[in-house]
């Protein structure tokens, strides 16, 4: 019997597909076998631990109830999805020296499997840079999200900030005292910024870089130029525009556009109002309170004296009430300019009419 060539190709392809299917199927069977019950038979027991070469104790107990209630537990994920190196007992020997090494090796091989986009975002973050620079204290996925107990990061909204607190407790203490922090932590206010609203989530920029400094007024403006939001608290939305209209803001806006990587000595919002500890403007401790303003100006203008701070109009548009001198100088020019130019235009226009439009009764000279 002669089998056509085409038939052979089709059969070969089919058998290839079958082999692939069989291998893949076998793999999934293996995974199904490693049911969480198998793992938790041991790891659900309290007190399970081992000592790592560094002398640290590695706790091996996972509370089944906690895992079941976590986002992964609720979705029915298996222990071996993340602990993919475990395929039975005895387990492969631990090759890590410290608990941190274990966390670092596990998050690199597991989180990325499902959350590659978020993982990639973190690669641009200040934490990833520190980690690449050899600082293994820098935060990785599990430091903020947890491991067996992962819950939705915004429930409650203050949760993410409290994760930052784990490593940045000094900054967090200042933030907690600020007008924003007190409202978030104390009252659960949904409008105030938490850490991630200014610093972003996974691609956390280094806040000491020039671009971060230069663009920070835009970050503040996200809320402080939002009329609807500010109306709730009776806060003026002129703050951003009046800042940009003045010498400091004008310069900063130009640096944003033209030289975002260059340092400028002009202040942004946080340089006067404070960074994490900013207070309400009528708080006696506020850096921009009238009594404290000279000291704030002197940070950059060391020779400034008593009257210097009043040269800043305090985010008020220059109207007759807040800055009469400025208002009347402007008014003078709004009258003076049209008057002068008007006279000039009249002379020029009549001269043009006479000389070039042939309205002259007199013969031209020359």
């Amino acid at each position: 019997m002669i089998v056509p060539k085409r038939m052979i190709i089709v059969m070969l392809s089919l058998s290839f597909v079958f082999v692939i299917w069989a291998v893949a199927g076998a793999g999934s069977v293996l995974a199904q076998e490693a049911d969480n019950g198998v793992c938790l038979a041991c790891h659900g027991q309290p007190g399970l631990q081992t000592t790592l070469p560094s002398g640290e104790i590695l706790y091996l107990t996972v509370d089944p109830e906690v895992f079941e209630a976590s986002v992964h537990g609720l979705e029915g994920f298996l222990c071996v999805h993340c602990h993919s190196d475990i395929d039975g007992y005895p387990h492969p020997p631990l090759t890590v020296e410290t608990r941190r090494e274990l966390s670092l090796s596990l998050y690199r091989s597991s989180c990325i499997l499902c959350h590659e986009d978020k993982y990639d975002e973190t690669l641009d973050s200040v934490h990833a840079v520190a980690l690449a620079g050899g600082d293994d204290r820098a935060a990785i996925c599990t430091d903020c999200h947890g491991s067996h107990n992962i819950s939705p990061p915004t429930e409650p909204r203050s949760r993410s900030s409290q994760m930052c607190e784990l490593c940045h407790s000094e900054i967090f203490e200042r933030y907690k005292q600020s007008v924003h922090g007190a409202a978030l932590i104390g009252e659960g206010n949904p409008d105030v910024p938490s850490c991630i609203d200014c610093h972003h989530v996974h691609c956390i920029e280094g806040p000491l870089t020039c671009p971060f400094h230069l663009f920070s007024p835009q970050t503040c403006a996200n809320c402080h130029a939002d009329a609807e939001l500010m109306a709730k608290y009776g806060i003026s939305t002129d703050v951003f525009d009046t800042y940009v209209a003045d010498f400091h803001g004008t310069t900063v806006v130009l640096f944003e556009k033209l030289a975002p990587d260059q340092e400028t000595n002009k202040p942004v919002c946080i340089d006067c109002h404070g960074v994490h500890d900013m207070k309400q403007v009528d708080d006696p401790e506020s850096a921009v309170m009238k009594e404290n303003l000279l000291a704030t100006c002197q940070k950059c203008h060391p020779d400034a004296t008593t009257d210097f701070p009043t040269s800043w109009l305090g985010h008020y548009p220059p109207d007759a009430e807040h800055a009469p001198l400025v208002f009347f100088v402007r008014l003078f020019y709004l009258i003076f300019i049209p008057a002068v130019l008007g006279v000039m235009v009249v002379f020029v226009a009549t001269d043009v009419r006479k000389r070039f439009l042939g309205r002259s009764k007199e013969p031209q000279h020359g």
């Binding site: 706790y59 900054i171 004008t250 000595n265 020779d303």
Partner: protein, 474 residues
Amino acid sequence: MDESRSYSRFSIFYRIEHWVLTTSFTLLAITGLVQQHVDSGFVTSIIDLLGGIETVRLLHHVAAIVLMLETIYHIAHVGYRVFVLRKRMSMLPGIEDARNALQALRYNLGLDERRPQQGFYTFEEKLEYWAVVWGTIVMGVTGFMLWNPIATTNLLPGTFIPAAKIAHGLEAFLAVVAILIWHMYHVHLRHFNKSIFTGQASEEEMLDEHPKTLAEIKAGGEEPRIPPDVLSKRRRIFFPVCGLAVAVMLTGVYFFVGYEETAIATIPPAEEVTVFVHLTPTPLPTIAPSSAGSEGADWGDFQHPLSLEGAHASADCADCHVEGQELTSDCSGCHQPPSDHYGPNCADCHTPTSFQDARLPADEHPIELVGAHQAASCEGCHAGGEETPEYICSNCHARPENHLPGECDICHTPRGFAESASFLVDLAPAIPHEIEGRDDCFMCHDPEGEIQPAPCNHVDYINEQCTLCHKTEQ
């Protein structure tokens, strides 16, 4: 009329002044106006072209210095002409200029037949000159305030600074637009007047714009020459006085430019704070064993490394944590083993739950502890604390009624009481023959006999026990 004749209007000094003024004014206008409209993309690209805002400000300052020096030179120059050469102050405005302006307007509107007969400087030129003087004063004063805000606020209220900024910007706008309308029209559009570049005006130009001066020249009104001795006498007085005045004005410029350092070059950090400060105590990444903890103590998320259960739950911290002593999780820190105690590792047998619940690990027992025996109490076998026990099943297991007589271990193993018996039944070979009428198994199956002898361990068995395990074949 002599077409080729030209008349001197501007000396080389005035012509240079004009160039300096043109350059500095243009540069000031461009670098100044762009700073007022940074929200426009076009303006931003001009700033970019000029090298950024800091360069723009530097250029503005340099141009301002040039204009200030030019102003000083102009004052000295005019002073020399007035006090030494005793020229007429032909640029001074007078009532005649107002009359000329009015007549020009009337003529343009057809209300007058004659054009004004103007002298060396027309009213248009005078207006322009004095506008420049006014503008330079306003821009100089307000510019000083903006350049030296600290010096200004030492003398004046702070609100003068934003007022100066407004005035500086609007005056600049006025100056630029006035130049575009007035200057552009009168010397470029109406007729391109080149006299400020060449120094000369033609007969025709003189007749058109300065007929009065032309008439005076034609009438032979030559100015008398000053005798050399008079001239040198005047100079001897003028130069020291003028030199002093110029020195004072240059000092003023020096202070204008370098009086104060308004701001420091590098802005200080907005916040002095240590970035990495681990929260104490730091929660562990893995959920540690649950611990009861000392009563009343709130440890937050801290987990005691040793599970605090049983007697440990009610122990005082100080029982284990002796001050000044490094703590290990060795039991021997608190518990002293008896001298003839079994084994070196406490945790092999003991748990923190209770010391009394100590159990030998199943695989450490000399005889394998399997099945229910794994959980049985030691006392069951080790009656009276005997190290080597009699295996007395009845200590724990009661013989049911109607149970067969004999030793338990004939049928039962520790593997499981019921299980072990059926296991034996399955192993026992079946009886291949009738048993009716055959009462004594051992008659034929004597362990020492010939016919299917019972195994030697069956020696003590009685007939009733044989059929417990051996069944007849069906």
